[in-house]
């Protein structure tokens, strides 16, 4: 079955970079955990092998469990030894096969390399990620605001859980 073989190919391609691989056969889905510095190489491997296409980049916020009211989004609070993180999912698709590259970056080092040099269409997704989750993408061609209004304050990332619209709990000001 082609989707099956596609997944196997992806598995082999990404073996050198992966920290962990989770395969869900019935959904034709493969989750690959990567460290952020391996991202570019992994995407390059996929790109060189012409494996699928980048379907989306999704961010998921994993704030550290918060105790008390003094919490802020700058990542200085570490409860129970756990850091606030943003998980970034690079979803590649080929036919029915879905490949998810998962990376976790802490708020303190919310940085990722760009993949725009390989996949030009990633620019809009990367800009969205930067605006919504405050993940700095190094080397992305355009860094202008894409979606948020011009007067939106710097350092407020709306899709982080700590940002509650209507108050300024996560804003660096106030």
């Amino acid at each position: 079955m082609s989707s099956q073989t596609a997944l196997q190919t992806a598995e082999e391609l990404l073996k050198p970079y992966a920290m962990e691989m989770i395969k869900q056969e019935e959904d034709f889905r493969l989750d690959v955990l990567l460290s952020p510095d391996q991202l570019h190489e992994a995407v390059k491997a996929l790109h060189d092998a012409r494996w699928g296409y980048l379907s989306a980049i999704a961010g998921v916020d994993h704030p550290a469990p918060v105790i008390g009211e003094d919490a802020n989004a700058s990542g200085t609070v570490q409860e129970k030894g756990k850091e606030s993180q943003v998980e970034v999912l690079y979803v590649f698709c080929q036919g029915a096969a879905v490949l998810v590259l998962r990376l976790k970056v802490p708020y303190t080092h919310a940085e990722l390399p760009t993949v725009c040099d390989l996949i030009p269409s990633a620019t809009l997704y990367e800009r969205e990620l930067m605006e919504m989750f405050g993940v700095e993408i190094h080397g992305t061609p355009v860094k202008d605001r894409l979606l948020l209004p011009d007067e939106w304050p710097e350092g407020v990332y709306p899709l982080r859980k700590a940002t509650i619209i209507g108050t300024t709990r996560s804003g660096s000001e106030e």
């Binding site: 989707s3 034709f28 889905r29 296409y53 980048l54 379907s55 989306a56 999704a58 961010g59 998921v60 916020d61 999912l89 979803v91 698709c93 036919g95 029915a96 879905v98 998810v100 996949i119 030009p120 269409s121 990633a122 620019t123 809009l124 997704y125 969205e128 919504m132 355009v142 202008d144 605001r145 894409l146 979606l147 948020l148 209004p149 007067e151 939106w152 304050p153 709306p158 899709l159 859980k161 940002t163 619209i165 209507g166 108050t167 300024t168 804003g171 000001e173």
Partner: protein
């Protein structure tokens, strides 16, 4: 006057308010005479914060919220969502429900493509085609109203099934409507492929090779017009598509004409599939039970919207509300193609190029609820209300 002299570049802004755009977006085309030498895009004028809002609503409430992402392809958003949630919950809707979902989705595709045909023709200054295609679109709108009682937000989907049944009377009405539309579509096909002035505006315009389309991440009819073989209904069939397969429509033209042809051919395919489903409509229940709390987990749900692949990522914590919903709409993918392909074309081609991908601004702009305030402040509803009271005192 100074501004024009001082800068070498002559920038023609299109949007946020512009007759070519039915929704707000902002494009800047740098032109040299009539030739476009650069293009950039700024979105976000209809941001409503739906992704953030979805985290604050129950699983059921979210159907209605997500349906409102887009007024044209509302059903397909709800379908992507309910399919994902049903998968998380480990249930699947009964076959009849899946069939009705698919019928509604295809009717929606017909309505969307006819709407696009009209808009694209209007951008090219062919208002007669615009008027006729929109008149005929009323037929399919009436059919959707017949099924669901609504012309725009059909709200057909519920978690675990559908709300509305199709009886023989409605099915006959749909068949009659389709017969009329099919005849009209043949006519449009003839107009689009033979009218000389229209061909002059579409043939060879916005040429995008297969390699470009793939590199720029095009999806849907835009990609298929550049012979990219990609259609979620075929690649990863969902709802009733495994039982009623559709045929992949591609064209190797890669220009605007090919985009017209692909969409019109897809209409014929939609007519065929709807008829096939109506003829062999499965019997049975309309809904299954879905628990109020969805088990923890995450799912990626992909469906083929009229404009291309619609991507949903749904994550549950096992609660009554989703942890995260990520929506990637097809229009977002296709912007890249416009901005790159625009360079070297004439300014007069820009509206048609923009329309050629069938953009949907509402779809793009969905992430953040904006409380516009003065300076860099957030205004809560209370503040705004207070401000309003103060202002009018």
């Amino acid at each position: 006057m100074e501004t024009r002299k001082s800068s070498e570049k002559f920038v023609v802004p299109i949007g946020p308010q512009h007759p070519a755009l039915k929704e707000p977006g902002h494009f800047e085309f740098t032109v040299d005479g009539e030739i476009v030498t650069g293009a950039s895009v700024r979105l976000g004028y209809v941001h409503r914060g739906i992704e953030k809002g979805a985290e604050d609503r129950t699983w059921t409430q979210n159907i209605y919220l997500l349906e409102r992402i887009c007024g044209i392809c509302s059903h397909v958003h709800a379908t992507a969502y309910v399919l994902g949630v049903e998968k998380l919950a480990g249930v699947s809707a009964p076959p009849r429900a899946q069939a009705i979902r698919t019928v509604t989705a295809e009717l929606e595709r017909i309505h969307s493509h006819l709407l696009w045909l009209g808009v694209a023709a209007h951008e090219g200054g062919f208002d007669t085609l615009f008027m006729y295609s929109w008149r005929d679109r009323e037929t399919v709108m009436d059919l959707l109203e017949l099924i669901s009682g609504n012309r725009v937000h059909y709200s057909t989907n519920v978690l675990g099934g559908v709300k509305y049944d199709l009886d023989t009377e409605k099915m006959d009405a749909i068949r009659r409507g389709l017969d009329f539309l099919e005849e009209r579509t043949h006519h449009y096909m003839k107009v689009v492929t033979t009218d000389e002035t229209f061909l002059a505006r579409t043939r060879g315009v916005g040429l995008m090779t297969r390699e470009q389309a793939e590199a720029l991440g095009a999806v849907g009819p835009t990609a298929r017009a550049s012979s990219v073989r990609r259609d979620i209904r075929i690649d990863a069939p969902y709802a009733a598509y495994p039982d009623f397969p559709v045929k992949l429509i591609t064209d190797d033209g890669g220009d605007l004409l090919a985009r017209f042809v692909v969409r019109l051919k897809e209409l014929f395919e939609s007519y065929r599939v709807i008829r096939a489903i109506l003829d062999q409509m499965p019997e049975g229940e309309l809904t299954t039970r879905v628990p109020r709390r969805i088990p923890a987990g995450e799912v990626i749900s992909r469906v083929e919207a009229p404009r291309g692949e619609l991507f949903y990522y749904i994550k549950s914590n096992g609660g009554e509300k989703p942890e995260r919903i990520k929506v990637r709409t097809p229009s977002l993918c296709n912007w890249g193609t416009v901005v790159s392909v625009a360079v070297g074309h004439k300014l007069a081609d820009m509206p048609m190029l923009l329309a050629g991908i069938d953009p949907c601004f509402s779809c793009n702009d969905r992430m953040v609820r904006i409380n516009r305030g003065q300076g860099a402040q957030f205004w809560s509803w209370e503040n705004l209300r207070q401000y309003g009271i103060e202002y009018y005192r």
